[in-house]
Amino acid sequence: MTIATLDAVEVDYRTRGKALGPFDLNLEAGEIVAMVGPSGCGKSTALRLLAGLESPSRGLVTRAAGRGETSVVFQAPTLAPWLSALANVALPLELAGLARKEARARAAAALERVGLGAALKARPAQLSGGMAMRASLARALVTHPRVLLLDEPFAALDEITRRELADDLLTIWVEARPAIVFVTHNVEEAVYMAGRVVIMTPGPGRMAGETVVDGPQPRPAGFRTSAAFRAAVETTSQRLAAVMDRAA
């Protein structure tokens, strides 16, 4: 089942000119798609279209997920500094009209699941970068979204934390099976996470190709050193390099 499509979408900004397109994307329910491409290729714009936060200048966006069924995780944790981790995670539910007590109970469960059960009362300033990102992830998951959009979510984290979070995200994905679109600069991360990797041209971004990554999801132990992983990383890197060469 298709849960969202971008059909020949183009986005023009008044100040910066054309940012995206024409660009097509079919998102199937429960799949993980990674989008890689150079800075300014319109990856974030494509995510905002999928989230319904922006409208295309031309083309068509179709979204099967309703309000509250789509979650977004940004590059920064984007937590409200004046709220505890618990209140931050409960916020989407409270905005959706859920009673405070129920919202907080579910938020506590979501924080538990990302390993922050001991930091419910902590303020964002008291959390490390990795912990804040986990709280941000919990806030995205607390509504049980059908579509989860991540805009370079781990870019600011160190390599170890980044891998941990990638694995945690895959574990959560197995439980709830949301469709995930994952924007990243990191080809290895893209290949590790996604069933297919969409490569984009420099802005205005178009689809330059797609790598289908073979192998089970979530990834078995040692996948990062397997031949399949290496091959997919190699192919994707070459395609990305070719796109950059053509642009230069």
Partner: protein, 252 residues
């Protein structure tokens, strides 16, 4: 410790030099009284100076409260309507750039000669208005754009957005504006009392004027000293308020 001792040592050195020069050159007291003479004037007038400082303080604090209510309300209203924002901005700027001394006589007329303290409070409020208004308005517009997007995503209406996102985001800006305004309110109260030129309000500015007219220069210095102490106390109180507010806001 040096943080406390260094300025005290400097003040002591300046006072000692001052005392010595005044004594050696036999400067007349109406021109430059010695620190010892000022201290005597301060002790002799402790009660009236304290009462006057209290009057000025009350006027400044009332002005601050008035300015906070009006500036805060207007900033919130402006944040909800772009048209209102565009309409209000030039007026707010005009209010800010017009010197308080220029409009003071008008307010004295409006308040009536028997109520100079009303005119003084209103003028100090006008001076304190702008930093609170601009701080609050800036803070309300400074919410994290990604948090704004989240509120879009979850379909939050303008009131919820205001209460749960913009007002809490604005808090540090409001506190900063308030701190600036507190200093300006005291300046405003003093300047307004000077311009009002009547003893009706019995504030510190009047004590300075009165002593000046009688060429009691040591008493003038004593009143200025009282004013400086009062302003510094307000400044310190606001700094502490800001520190606590930020701890509350950020959680540490």
């Amino acid at each position: 410790m040096t943080r406390l001792l260094a300025p005290l040592a400097l003040i002591g050195a300046i006072l000692a030099l001052w005392e010595t020069i005044v004594r050696l050159t036999a400067t007349p007291a109406y021109l430059l009284p010695a620190p010892s003479a000022i201290a005597q004037a301060l002790a002799a007038n402790a009660l009236p100076l304290t009462v006057s400082a209290g009057r000025t303080l009350v006027m400044a604090l009332r002005a601050l409260a008035l300015a906070t209510v009006f500036a805060g309300t207007l900033a919130v209203a402006v944040s909800l309507s772009r048209t209102l924002d565009q309409a209000v901005r030039p007026l707010a700027v005009a209010l800010q750039v017009t010197p308080v001394v220029a409009v003071a006589p008008l307010f004295v007329i409006w308040a009536g000669v028997e109520h100079p303290e009303r005119a003084i409070t209103a003028l100090a409020a006008i001076v304190a208005f702008f930093p609170i208004f601009s701080g609050t308005a800036r803070g309300l517009a400074a919410a994290d754009p990604d948090l704004e997007r989240l509120f879009d995503l979850y379909g939050a209406g303008p009131w919820r957005r205001l209460l749960r996102l913009r007002l809490p985001s604005a808090a540090p800006f409001v506190v900063e504006g308030f701190k600036v305004a507190s200093g300006l309110a005291i300046i405003g109260a003093v300047v307004a009392e000077f311009v009002a030129g009547s003893g009706g309000a019995q504030g510190l500015a009047w004590r300075i004027l009165e002593a000046g007219n009688r060429l009691e220069t040591a008493k003038m210095f004593a009143a200025i000293f009282a004013l400086a102490v009062m302003a510094a106390a307000v400044h310190l109180a606001c700094q502490e308020l800001e520190r606590r507010a930020l701890i509350w806001w950020r959680g540490r």
